[in-house]
């Protein structure tokens, strides 16, 4: 023990002269013999979205082989599965950010059904203009998201329990609203109302860039119907919304202070508090964001389908979480990527729609997804342990 001490005092004495010169520190990176060159390939391996990109390629190859000539990769086929991916992608982005911050929202799916009802009831039964109903639906959902977050932060209960309660409360409310006003579990005719309202129609309904598709069909790039109209009328707006939500969320997460706070609160909430990050504000605002995404999903779906129904969004909370996990997000928080979640959603879309283009019985869809989730979790676990031990 005493030798240890004398060693230490000697070392301290030795270092003393060098510390007089402030510039004695070696130039950091280049001269350090402890730096190991990492090839770009290995750097890529440490990215959270790698697993989902690899899986996407795998899925594309699979369906390219088994359904390549079935029309799945024709323009209308692409529109088909990309819309499924886009709907899921919107909520997966919200769920992903919330998961990186270390929380879940299991009420997401119920929120979709509820938002549809809140959109439909005032416009169909109270005579509200559609744009006001839509605004009200967004406000109500985001307020509920805030309540979710507030209760989680205030009670310090796991978000799993609090949002599980809201999963049932909101699903129940959806059914109550529906049967109370429409006398059935479905409110139809909402789509027509939206079509009559210029604001909501322009924002949420149908397709856009029709001129581009018409022109492309005219010059022969895409095929057209016998009537001369393009086989796909335009770009579905849901795809634009997905792109918009994903790009903004990705930008915020990777480039802004708030993004750094999301990683910090998810990685270690106590550490975040000690360095002055407003943990509560960050988490609550992400619950609000998730609710916003659920409402956006609902409004787009009601516009597209034309009705609001009480079973909408069933199990969507799990699909969103699965997409985020396939995309590299850790269930424990602090790690994940928006790009990855989008690829996760894309995989969903391809598998769900693609399987009906193959000879495979489409009942296998859930089996494939479950297996993919399991693989993704194992893969992420492996990647994370590599990232944190630096092997």
């Amino acid at each position: 023990m005493s030798t240890t001490t004398s060693d230490m005092s000697m070392t301290l004495a030795k270092t003393a002269p060098s510390t007089v010169l402030p510039s004695s520190g070696k130039p950091a990176a280049p001269g350090d013999e402890r730096v190991r060159r990492i090839s770009p390939w290995r750097a890529l391996l440490n990215r959270p979205e790698l697993g989902s990109i690899a899986a996407t390629i795998l899925v594309f190859v699979f369906f390219g082989v088994f359904a390549g000539d079935s029309g799945m990769f024709n323009l209308d086929g692409i529109m088909n599965w990309s819309q499924v991916a886009a709907y899921l992608g919107i909520i997966a982005v919200g769920a992903c950010l919330l998961m990186i911050a270390g929380e879940f929202d299991l009420s997401l799916g119920s929120m979709i059904g509820f938002a549809g009802m809140v959109l439909a009831v005032p416009s169909m039964y109270f005579g509200w203009p559609m744009w006001l109903s839509a605004l009200f639906a967004f406000a109500a959902c985001m307020a509920l998201g805030w309540l979710n977050g507030y209760l989680v932060m205030r009670t310090k209960l796991p978000s799993f329990i609090v949002t599980l309660a809201f999963m049932f409360i909101l699903r129940g409310m959806t059914i109550v609203l529906s049967t109370q006003f429409a006398g059935s579990t479905i409110i139809s005719g909402v789509g027509d109302k939206i079509a009559q309202d210029p604001v909501t129609h322009a924002l949420f309904q149908g397709t856009t860039f029709q001129w581009l598709f018409t022109w492309l069909a005219h010059v022969g790039v895409i095929s057209h119907l016998p009537s001369g109209e393009p086989v796909v009328a335009g770009l579905p707006k849901v795809l634009l919304w997905w792109a918009g939500v994903a790009c903004s969320a990705g930008f915020v997460l990777s480039k802004t202070r708030f993004g750094n706070w999301i990683f910090t609160v998810g990685g270690d909430a106590n550490a975040a508090k000690n360095v002055g990050v407003p943990v509560r504000r960050v988490k609550i605002s992400l619950f609000v964001l998730t609710a916003f995404c659920a409402c956006l999903f609902a409004v787009l779906q009601v516009s597209d389908v034309g009705s609001a129904a009480s079973d909408r969004g069933l199990q969507k909370e799990f699909e969103a979480i699965i997409a985020a996990v396939i995309g590299g997000a850790l269930l424990t928080g602090g790690y994940g990527s928006v790009l990855g979640a989008c690829f996760g959603a894309l995989i969903f879309g391809i598998v769900q729609i693609g399987i009906s283009y193959t000879n495979v019985n489409s009942d296998w869809y859930r089996v494939v997804l479950g297996a993919m989730l399991l693989l993704a979790v194992l893969f992420n676990h492996y990647i994370r342990s590599r990232a944190t031990t630096g092997k």
Partner: protein, 272 residues
């Protein structure tokens, strides 16, 4: 009994003082009439065995607890912190044992967590200035004699000693006047402890006052300028290094005599 008696020179340039501080939790007396005076630019070691009240004292200094009795002064002014943030703003930076680092995040992101430097993208959108964050983190760590492999490596890949040094360097960079280190060498090996002690030495050379909390006399004695000993919630006095030997410090901590008697007993048994 206290510092004035042993060193007659510096009796008024205290950067931080606790005067007769007590802290009660219900019926438990955690601290009883503790006086601690930190001179500007010194390394002041706070020694005590487990249960001596070290943690409560640190948390009081860091602004987590308010003293039940007594006064807390910074540069002669009475302060009353209601949160660690306020203490931090007053230049009192505490590096707790958990270090407040997130293992999955990069060195640069950790270094600036909560205080990210920003720049305007396209002249309007505020984004983190990642290049500045990375280069500053590397430079500040290099100044402290720590060479990270890359500012983008996750903190989880660093050793315990490197993490401790990162946390200390971060506190210094953000303008700490007083650095409170909670058992910085507790979980470290000999060489890594040595690196941390070097860092404490560098902090002192930059004029930062340090409170170094430990139960390891062998780490405290070489680096310390003065020593305060805690036992069962009470201060056993403050001593300048010149006034006390390492063996005396060890003796005064509860462990000293007990270890000696254990040694005697073991040797006696071997002889028998």
């Amino acid at each position: 009994m206290n510092a004035q008696a042993t060193t007659p020179t510096g009796n008024d340039d205290y950067i931080l003082q606790l005067e007769g501080v007590s802290k009660f939790f219900g019926t438990v007396i955690s601290l009883k009439d503790v006086t601690l005076r930190l001179r500007r630019g010194e390394v002041h070691c706070l020694l005590g065995d487990n249960g001596a009240g070290k943690s409560t004292l640190i948390k009081t200094l860091a602004g987590v607890h308010r003293p039940s009795e007594g006064r807390y002064l910074i540069e002669g002014e009475v302060v009353d912190f209601s949160s660690p943030r306020e203490a931090l703003d007053a230049g009192i930076a505490t590096v707790f044992q958990d270090l407040a680092l997130v293992p999955l995040m990069s060195v640069a992101r950790n270094f600036f967590a909560g205080r990210e430097p920003t720049r305007k993208m396209f002249g309007m959108i505020p984004v983190i200035d990642m290049n500045l964050a990375a280069s500053t983190a590397v430079d500040k760590l290099a100044e402290m004699g720590i060479h990270v492999r890359s500012p983008h490596q996750p903190v989880g890949t660093m050793s315990g000693g490197e993490r401790q040094c990162l946390a200390i360097a971060r506190a210094i960079h953000f303008g700490a006047k007083v650095l409170i280190l909670d058992e910085p060498t507790a979980a470290l090996g000999v060489k890594q402890s040595c690196n941390v002690l070097k860092l404490v030495h560098k902090a002192r050379e930059r004029g930062i006052s340090v409170i170094f909390i430990t139960h390891n006399v062998h780490h405290a004695y070489p680096i310390g300028d003065s020593f305060t000993l805690l036992n069962r919630g009470q201060s056993m006095g403050t001593f300048a290094k010149s006034a006390i030997s390492k063996e005396e410090v060890l003796d005064m901590m509860a462990g000293g005599t007990e270890i000696q008697s254990l040694v005697d007993e073991l040797e006696g048994r071997q002889a028998a």
